[in-house]
Chain length 454, copies 2
Amino acid sequence: MENIVTQEILELIEQKKFGAVKQIIISMNGVDLAILFEELPPEIWLKIFRLLPKELAADTFVELDSDLQEALIKGFSDKELKEVISELYADDAVDIVEEMPANVVKRILKQADPEMRKDINQLLKYPEDSAGSVMTTEFVDLKSHLTAEQALQNIRKTGIDKETVNTCYVTKNDRVLIGTVSLRTLIISGPNEEISELMDANPISVTTDVDQETVAKTFKKYGLLAMPVVDTENRLVGIVTVDDVLEVMQEEATEDIVKMAAIVPNDKTYFKTGVFETFKVRFPWLLLLMISGTFTGLIISSFESRLTLFPALIAFIPMLMGTAGNSGGQSSVTVIRAISLEEIHFKDILKVIWKETRVALLCGLILAVVNFLKIFLVDISLFGSTATVIDNIIVCLTLLITVVIAKCVGAFLPMLANKIGLDPAVMASPIITTAVDIIVLVIYFGLAALLLGI
Amino acid sequence: MENIVTQEILELIEQKKFGAVKQIIISMNGVDLAILFEELPPEIWLKIFRLLPKELAADTFVELDSDLQEALIKGFSDKELKEVISELYADDAVDIVEEMPANVVKRILKQADPEMRKDINQLLKYPEDSAGSVMTTEFVDLKSHLTAEQALQNIRKTGIDKETVNTCYVTKNDRVLIGTVSLRTLIISGPNEEISELMDANPISVTTDVDQETVAKTFKKYGLLAMPVVDTENRLVGIVTVDDVLEVMQEEATEDIVKMAAIVPNDKTYFKTGVFETFKVRFPWLLLLMISGTFTGLIISSFESRLTLFPALIAFIPMLMGTAGNSGGQSSVTVIRAISLEEIHFKDILKVIWKETRVALLCGLILAVVNFLKIFLVDISLFGSTATVIDNIIVCLTLLITVVIAKCVGAFLPMLANKIGLDPAVMASPIITTAVDIIVLVIYFGLAALLLGI
């Protein structure tokens, strides 16, 4: 649908029917307009942007890609820049400033009014991914002695500039947070009821240094729409709103997912990450895991001369490694996710291992039986494998034992990592697979030595 | 902290100081109370629950585990059950009903008032994971001819029973949705302004059958707090609120993560999934991937007699398979996530493959060089490997070629899967690894045949 609109607008622009273009775009929202801008040729960005009414222009501006924002800012007059900035919320302004080159940042700060400048500078100080860095400084604060009626008047006067008025924050004179009160409560209560009676005096809050992932989890746990952020003296300094939390949740899920694939996370989109950058986030683990392959090589080498006597055994190595690796990968990913969702903790380790052992025995037994039959019916009868019954027993026993060990290792390593303060997500398939490869070979050759006397 | 409170409460209960217990728990919120209940012995659940004021009791009840809910319902008198149900929102009631055995459901429906019963029955009809199944039927609807003042009076009267009043919905007489208006707008505008002038006449909405994942994406895209759900005739039937979306986002991320580890997703927590159930979600892929190992076995078997002449080559097979598998896993997971976040589409396929090829060439070249040196300096000099220079060249060439192919296959398969309507998340490491194992062997043995004349 967007493409039809874009097509229509491009045609209207070609025919210089800017009045008609304006008619269409002023009925759109900022998000869809930002998508439209990406499709337009750069030379008309400024022209189209100037057709937008002030508020919609700001709504659109915050949604744009930083390259596009930069191009527009460079084309803006000081007055235009000032207008756009004055419509922004401080947290959005900070997001923009963080992506701009120094000279553009200087221009932005120069055009921002003093209060906005102060807010931006303050927010820039918080560490990346902390509650302070995702909060906004625009909120409604009320005093507890006000009545509901007075509070509503207050909101009427100041609320237009605040990011959200659905929840208001009750503070003492020294800005210490003492409660929250929802706009709904203010509306529904009698006009003369006092805020101190209406407010929730035990609001859930975080300090500025708390990690954004914890902030997101707290939102989910308590079903919040906004959460106050306080300094170490419990003074209210900002609020985090749920729309920012949706972004955080997505970012954190992406980070976990790529870590599990042995990639160093970065926060850019696929096409925004250049080839060399992509190389940099993927290469370290590939190198480390390749070098750890030395051990599997060593084990095979040390059995080399004996293996040549029983060549049929070699053919099963990839299948055994693959199955054990997949088994361990399943339990590690399940456990990593459960740790991240706080469903399991280190104290549950025996319960987890016990559960994984039973699951693994079930999986391993049935896989071993199927494999035993398969080797006879397919590999030997159909494809002429030279595997003997003893070979087959060695393969299937290895399968059973390694599936059990792999599942336990896969569950244990992430829990251990978490316990000692490492990120459990790193202990996913790639590491587990490499560890399990070694275990498979040791057990396989050990059983071969035992049963074949090699 | 929770544990200290639990300890304190348990002691107070032992001393039969129920007044003191009540003092503590009435200052807590439903979420934390639900956590507390999990820690209490079942025989006092009902006793403690009865200490809670009506509203907090309902808040706590919805947060409880379904086993605990069932136990409480069985202990409730009809009057108590009726009270709890009357405080619930319809969507929460449905979530509870879905987990209960038939006789308990009957009792719940009997105690629900007729309107609630109608709502529950209606919501139960929508397919699982659809917008209809996550929406609530309690919202404020207004007529467009009302003034802001009249609308506020309306909200004062009816808003207490609605899940959210922050956004109100404007409908025509036949319930057709024509706009939305925020409570903030109603407060801030002049009392005599008409809703038709104040409302957003292009609200973003979904139909009841839309998948919950799409609903969550729309929330994130537009930064919404609530979204109207309409039927095929654009009649308003419910709203989805952002707190439910946070749940959905987490569920969907979990689903993607476990699928990528070759697990069939289910929506239970780690410990709620029994051993046999865990077996069932993990076994199918293990079996399939094990059986596909037949191919790697076949390839090795067919080279068996020749391999015994060059035993040094065998030692490098696991390292080659591991590195190619990890390379393919990295690109597949990156692409799967980018597809899920709608950063890439099928039309980008050539761009993606071109990027992956360049990244893979960089990774593959450096890995091959490092490996070449490692084989000389470590494997041969240190560990006495019998690999020759030609062997080393074969290994490193295979490494380079398979890293490039693996990265392209890893990027291509998820995009193809998505194009033909399959879930791209299935095309993650386990499948890629198995596919890549075969490619590695074919190239390795092919190069060996070429360069060693075997």
